[in-house]
Symmetry: C2
Subunit: 259 residues, 2 copies
Amino acid sequence: MAETTETGLPRAVTVAWGMQEVPQRGPNRGLSHERIVAAAIEIADNEGLAAVTMQAVATSLGFTTMSLYRYVSGKDELLRLMQDAALAVPEQVTLPGDWREALRVWAGLVRDAFHGHPWVLGIPRGQVSVLMPNSVRAADLGLAALHDLPLDDEEKVGVILVVSQYVTSTVELELNLADEGTVAVSREGLDLLGGVVTPERFPHLAPVLQAGHFLGSEPAGAAGEGAETDYGLDADYDYGLDLIVAGLEQRVRDVSASD
Amino acid sequence: MAETTETGLPRAVTVAWGMQEVPQRGPNRGLSHERIVAAAIEIADNEGLAAVTMQAVATSLGFTTMSLYRYVSGKDELLRLMQDAALAVPEQVTLPGDWREALRVWAGLVRDAFHGHPWVLGIPRGQVSVLMPNSVRAADLGLAALHDLPLDDEEKVGVILVVSQYVTSTVELELNLADEGTVAVSREGLDLLGGVVTPERFPHLAPVLQAGHFLGSEPAGAAGEGAETDYGLDADYDYGLDLIVAGLEQRVRDVSASD
DNA sequence: CGGTATCTGTGTATGCCATAAACCGATTAT
DNA sequence: ATAATCGGTTTATGGCATACACAGATACCG
């Protein structure tokens, strides 16, 4: 159960939206939660999420550890704020007119955000709020992408959820495999696994593993050509998205037919 | 970067598969990683993931904290093992013949596993391995469900991934909303949000929020009838799954047509 | 069959980290 | 001007993961 204010909203939500009353008396404030979150994000970007400690954030700002607690109720709240701030979708996007294209572009924006700050996935789930500013912004943009679809709003929200969840999970998978695939799939580990993942025990999966699919391990191929943003799973990503789009088109046909 | 053995496989993987050499000399072992993981899971089930400390696990087994480190390299590894053990799919499932039904049943099994041990979602992502025993088991079963589909193996793996990711994310969403929806959506918070989520700034989303959709908040309705397993988002869950299935059917048609 | 290398469980110790509590000086409302 | 409030610091605490070194148990080797 997350910390909540009298309104029932999690404190992180009210803070992020600037709905917190600003004190009148007392000295001028030397910090702001924006600056704190920005500093924390920079640390996470450079040194990983584990390096984000209250102390590190505070000293990187030239303040004491405890000073942060005047702006943020605790580390949980800081993490929530970081997460939302990191997943900002660019302002002023112009989406293609065709909803299929628009949806793909939107998904790409979400995906880019994750790729820019992969440590977000290191934040425990179950603490995420749909009501944070950038979530709301992203949702609005997603609905904009689907504007011309002949579905009611509730259903569009469902689509947005499915897609964003899909994108999130795909990035998560990419990162797990980046950790694991490159090393483990080096034949050696796979052979070892072959001892336990036998065709008798796993009739359907064993052949696939043996064939070397799974894990998106291409046959070496031409690596190195602008490899920066090559996550190796682009094909799988596109495939899943195609699947969703196809399902959506079918749904549209069904709806249109029943009119 | 996760701890790896000489094989390149994460240590958690080799431990989970029992691929670790058993020592010959020395006293008889009083513990096993299975018992440790089981104890840890019990604590997590009863008191939440936060209560799972090395100390708590050890004393619940009647041993010292440090004794655990003879079986598990650290807490990270323990969490990985817990995650995999918690997400076990029942043995001896018989899947329906129709692949649509089978896929739904399979997705339901995965979903049930999460519902049984929701704390799994509290484990930071990016640490999860696809090579753990129960992941493999689940993947095998998933492929079995799709056995009759006229798609190649690689594509089926893609489908499995999409579906399991979808299920995972849906459960995550459910839990987030259970934390937040029940409390926050009590009109009061929503009104407050209305001040910032204005139709001018969020033309597409604001109406939806105002209408009370989003967050799966039904108009009160008849709650209490066997509410145990009522997560409120079943409709959304089914919807997304339908979408995927529909997409898949389309894909099958495409493939068949190009034959 | 005795010696030795090896392993297990334990006790002790360390260092990091989040956070609580009390304090001083600055600022503003009255 | 005075009092109520607030910001930032200092100091202190408790929890937690884990490194290290030890004492007894066990199995291999000659």
